[in-house]
């Protein structure tokens, strides 16, 4: 893969594994491509009706890293902000104290999720099922990274939920709605990103049914991740 701007920067693209130039190939993306990808992840329905070619998920790590960072920041803002609003609405004198532990916990949860699951899925595809044309590991990570974008509107809604501090039923209902939006849309992104390739490869191997099993397993894992997000950011399960 050669970069668009490589000839400006330096003649030799690639470079050694430990040199920074090696990693430039994973950051070869322009602003407009990035925004287009984000839009498609935000509204995954467009891809169901054959819009899939518009966003070709090349292996690129900028989106995975910074979309996830955005989600972490927004979930943190939403959590602390809604707690502050609740205190304000209830006129309580208890000063709200943010905890940094939440930030570190969310970093390990979100980055862990977009790293561990793709690595497992890729290893299975590559060495256990022996796919003829597997997605690369970077592509898996990229799909998982972009898939989390629907958590952005969810966290904004969660912030509004802080205003409903006096109505515990409405507040928890709103939180479950946020979780629903985030979880379902991001799962849809993952499925739309991974399933075509998985299906094609299993069809070539003659094991179509296993594709559905893998899809089901990934969905269950994603539900687990969604519940973890719910516990960390949107209060305890109730």
């Amino acid at each position: 893969m050669s970069g668009k701007y490589d000839r400006i920067i330096d003649a030799d693209d690639g470079g050694h594994f430990f040199s920074i130039n090696y990693y430039r190939q994973y950051f070869d993306i322009d602003s407009n491509e990035f925004l287009a990808k984000c839009m498609h992840a935000m509204i995954p329905f467009t891809r169901i009706f054959g819009g899939n070619e518009a966003v070709d998920t090349t292996g690129e790590l900028y989106g995975a890293i910074w979309c996830t960072a955005t989600i972490i920041v927004l979930l943190f803002l939403s959590n602390t902000g809604s707690n502050m609003l609740t205190n304000w609405v209830k006129h309580s004198d208890i000063k709200y104290q943010y905890d940094f532990a939440l930030l570190t916990k969310s970093i390990s949860l979100l980055y862990g999720y977009i790293l561990v699951v793709p690595i497992v899925a890729y290893s299975l595809a590559r060495w256990y099922f022996k796919f003829p044309q597997s997605l690369t590991l970077v592509q898996y990570v990229s799909i998982y990274g972009y898939s989390n974008i629907p958590w952005i509107p969810a966290s904004v809604l969660g912030l509004v939920g802080g205003l409903l501090g006096n109505h515990s039923f409405l507040s928890s209902l709103l939180r479950w709605i946020c979780i629903g939006i985030g979880g379902v849309l991001s799962l849809l992104n993952i499925v739309l990103g991974i399933y075509p390739n998985v299906k094609k490869n299993f069809a070539e191997l003659g094991k179509e049914k296993v594709a559905l099993v893998e899809l089901a397993v990934l969905s269950v894992v994603h539900v687990g991740f969604t519940i973890a997000v719910k516990i960390s950011f949107f209060g305890v399960l109730n």
Binding site: Y23, F27, D30, F34, L35, T70, V73, M84
Partner: protein
């Protein structure tokens, strides 16, 4: 300047006439501009030796082209290099300090008034796009619009970088946050904020470098670190103002100011035009977090 090609002169003839490098320290650092400095080379052939030697005695009369023609060939241009003054080891400490302080002040002014850099930023971006076009790369139409009416690349002075500003600002910010938080937590908040700022700045600088352009790690760190200054102002404001809504408004303004300053500074340092948003986005993210911490403390 053309490369110096060593002529075919016998070593014995050369040895006597090599002029030592100028190392008389007791003179004033800035010397006469006509004094030839890099003449520690071979002299002309023996027959013209005397006339050239006298011309060395009287520096204004040196005709370098004529003296060196026999050695370098007819078409080579010989130039004298201006002696640019003593090195920084020789100058008084006060001069060094004042130069560094001036550089820091210049950076700070650029953050306070980012428009002062916008001309430089534009020139830098044009250079990059022009460079891309000359290398035969397709430049997006959106970028080309500004360039067509402009002439050849402008000579752009690269911004200097230093880490004093980032150090002072991150320290000030973390101290304020530590003091504002409850007694039991203050040291924890201080250390976590301080390390968070530096870690994220480092990650951001690596990210900017990976996106490409002519910028490197430390200038990116310096540019993003200096632009924290408005947020430090926000932290000072939150010492004085306890009302959360007022803080929110003030910090929102200050954060957008910081992001704008960082954008201009990064453009000056040579981020590719199509990727300025990508470079600035993580910076904005961390600035929002820092501003938010000021609000909720």
């Amino acid at each position: 300047m053309p490369e110096w090609k060593p002529p075919n002169v016998s070593p014995d003839a050369v040895a006597d006439f090599i002029i030592e490098a100028d190392d008389s320290d007791d003179e004033a650092p800035v010397r006469s501009s006509t004094q030839p400095q890099s003449l520690s080379s071979a002299p002309p052939p023996a027959n013209s030796m005397f006339s050239n030697f006298t011309s060395f005695m009287n520096p204004t009369a040196v005709n370098l082209e004529a003296s060196f023609q026999p050695l370098t060939g007819a078409n080579t241009r010989v130039q004298e290099r201006q002696f640019s003054g003593g090195n920084t080891l020789d100058e008084p400490i006060l001069e060094t300090l004042s130069r560094d302080l001036k550089a820091i002040g210049h950076h700070l002014y650029a953050v306070l008034w980012p428009a002062s850099l916008s001309k430089l930023a534009k020139a830098q971006q044009q250079n990059l796009v022009g460079y891309a076009r000359n290398a035969g790369i397709n430049v997006p139409d959106a970028l080309r619009g500004d360039i067509e009416n402009e002439a050849a690349p402008v000579a752009v002075k690269q911004l200097e970088w230093d880490l004093w500003g980032p150090l002072v600002f991150s320290l000030a910010y973390s101290v304020i946050l530590g003091v504002l938080s409850p007694k039991a937590l203050s040291s924890e908040v201080f250390s976590l904020t301080f390390s968070m700022i530096w870690l994220t700045l480092a990650v951001i600088a690596v990210n900017i470098q990976l996106l490409g352009g002519t910028i490197s790690f430390l200038p990116a760190l310096s540019a993003t670190g200096y632009s924290i200054f408005p947020i430090v102002v926000g932290a000072v404001v939150s010492i004085l103002v306890k009302h959360a809504m007022v803080r929110l408004v003030v910090d929102a303004v200050l954060v957008s100011w910081a992001v704008y300053a960082a954008t201009v500074a990064l453009k000056c340092s040579g981020v590719l035009s199509g990727r300025v948003i990508l470079a600035i986005y993580p910076v904005g993210l961390i600035y929002v977090v820092l501003g938010w911490l000021c609000v909720i403390t």
